[in-house]
Symmetry: C2
Subunit: 309 residues, 2 copies
């Protein structure tokens, strides 16, 4: 493998998940975070995701044997092959991190930021070689969910994009290269569009949160795990497929769009959503519910052949 | 079982799928449709979905032994236990159908319409006993996708709602009772909200249809097959769950909503979508692609324990 050594910058939930994935694929990993309790947080976090990595079919014995901690950023990226940055979502912080990385990392290293909201174009304005930086935005948590959105900035080179694509694919991920920078990228925009209507329907009292979740898992969730929205309409439109659907039903759908909701997270809506969340999810620790969800997720991915042995 | 005899009114794709599901659950089924070629269409359609019914674990030997055809509506509903109507989506046609059904069906029969868009309140204005009619809207195809949205009209009785819920649950469906009539009900509104943004992203050239579908199946589709949008944010918000998410990220999400797309199915957009559909799905017969999708769907449902033996 071309990438033997990775540096994970920023050891929050996303950083820990990347570190676990890299380790399970046999890479040496240096974790860099200024917090004094980084090592404990990362080791606890890795303990938490190890069963998930194992269920995905990845080797986890001696997982942390090749794990190191280095709070000094320049030292952490010296000799590395890939830097995956998961720092705070503030432009000036990211620019500062990447200025240091650019100086200290080898010229061949792949440079990727996990940012969900800051364009590579903006971060790379601080760099001497902006063609080296690319967004590699995972869908949380990166060790489990296959998607990585690769979003080149205006000056990111095609070579960097292709290397990023190949790197994430070699980890069993499903990287998708976006053709344009757009706020929120693709997955979060789609998620947010559906969630807006979900909040509206709950705020209007049409369904509760729990009922809405059950509607989704029993219909569009199942569908979209297997075939995306365009394919779903292609297959739902009879022999004429999507073109027939667009011709005969497109205008009616468009006419209904203005009737979709424009809710606000005002005090009464937040109060209702919070109260219903308590009713739906109770006092069970979130980590426990998440672990249960992740087990079901893995079973689903195995059924679809999406896990990587 | 309380419901031994069903009448399926309207033998399009939805009606045929209901008929297959009812037959596989041991019911006697009468199909009523004025088209002269109804019997051939229904038998061909049932042949097409029989492998799916079998894969769901339902008995399919002699599936059509208890199937009858009766073009006269009054005769078709005489002695029936449940009427599932899938006629044209026009109010006056549905009112005419239901007027006849109300006169001719036994007083104990459950009366449900598959309509995706016409409120029970409106249809029932033509009835002497509006409390008997309820919407039982499946997500296509009904024999496969678990959701049935039960939408009471203003005058539908609680007893009718409860009987409908119990009936669909006895067929292994996951019925969900809506608390208010709203155009498009819940699943289609959510689907349409996400699709609006999907069309925007393709129209803007951020991704192609095929790429967007891959983004969805590799992220939110997988997620929402296992846990709906509220649970997903509850589990993504750290130990504080959804309340913490709403408090800390709700306003930022709301601020981004006006930036989501408002596309139109104008000529250039339809041309682009049509061209990309040809590129993505090629010339493969839609029925073949759908059968392949349905097999994956069933594997997924089996992994999640959602099929009914």
């Amino acid at each position: 493998m071309e990438y033997g050594k990775a540096t994970v910058v920023g050891a929050g939930v996303i950083g820990i998940s990347w570190a676990g994935l890299f380790l399970a694929h046999g890479m040496d990993v240096v974790v860099c975070d200024p917090r004094p309790d980084t090592e404990r947080l990362v080791r606890d976090g890795l303990d938490g995701i190890t069963p998930g990595l194992a269920a995905l079919g990845l080797p986890t014995e001696g997982l942390t044997d090749r794990l190191r901690f280095e709070p000094d950023l320049a030292a952490a990226v010296a000799g590395t092959d890939v830097v995956q940055e998961n720092g705070p979502e503030r432009l000036e912080v990211k620019q500062e991190i990447w200025r240091t990385v650019e100086e200290a990392a080898p010229a061949h290293a792949l440079l990727a930021t996990s940012t969900s909201g800051i364009p590579a174009t903006a971060i790379a304005r601080a760099l001497r070689r902006p063609e080296r930086l690319v967004v590699g935005h995972p869908f949380n948590p990166p060790h489990l969910v296959p998607l990585v959105e690769i979003v080149p900035g205006e000056r990111t080179s095609p070579e960097t994009v292709e290397r990023a694509r190949a790197f994430y694919a070699s980890l069993g991920k499903k990287p998708q290269v976006l053709r344009k920078e757009i706020p929120g990228f693709v997955a979060n925009r789609l998620q947010s569009a559906l969630f807006r209507e979900a909040v509206h329907l709950v705020a209007e009292g049409v369904v509760t949160e729990e009922e809405l979740d059950e509607v989704v898992t029993a219909s569009i969730g199942l569908r979209w795990a297997v075939a995306g929205p365009f394919r779903t309409f292609h297959l739902g439109g009879g022999p004429g497929g999507l073109p027939h659907f667009l011709e005969h039903l497109g205008r009616a759908m468009e006419a209904a769009w203005p009737g979709l909701g424009s809710p606000s997270f005002d005090a009464p809506t937040v109060a209702r959503l919070t109260e219903q969340a308590r009713a739906a999810f109770g006092d069970a620790p979130v980590a426990e519910l998440a672990a249960r969800r992740d087990r079901a997720q893995i079973a689903l991915m195995q059924a679809l052949g999406d896990t990587t042995p």
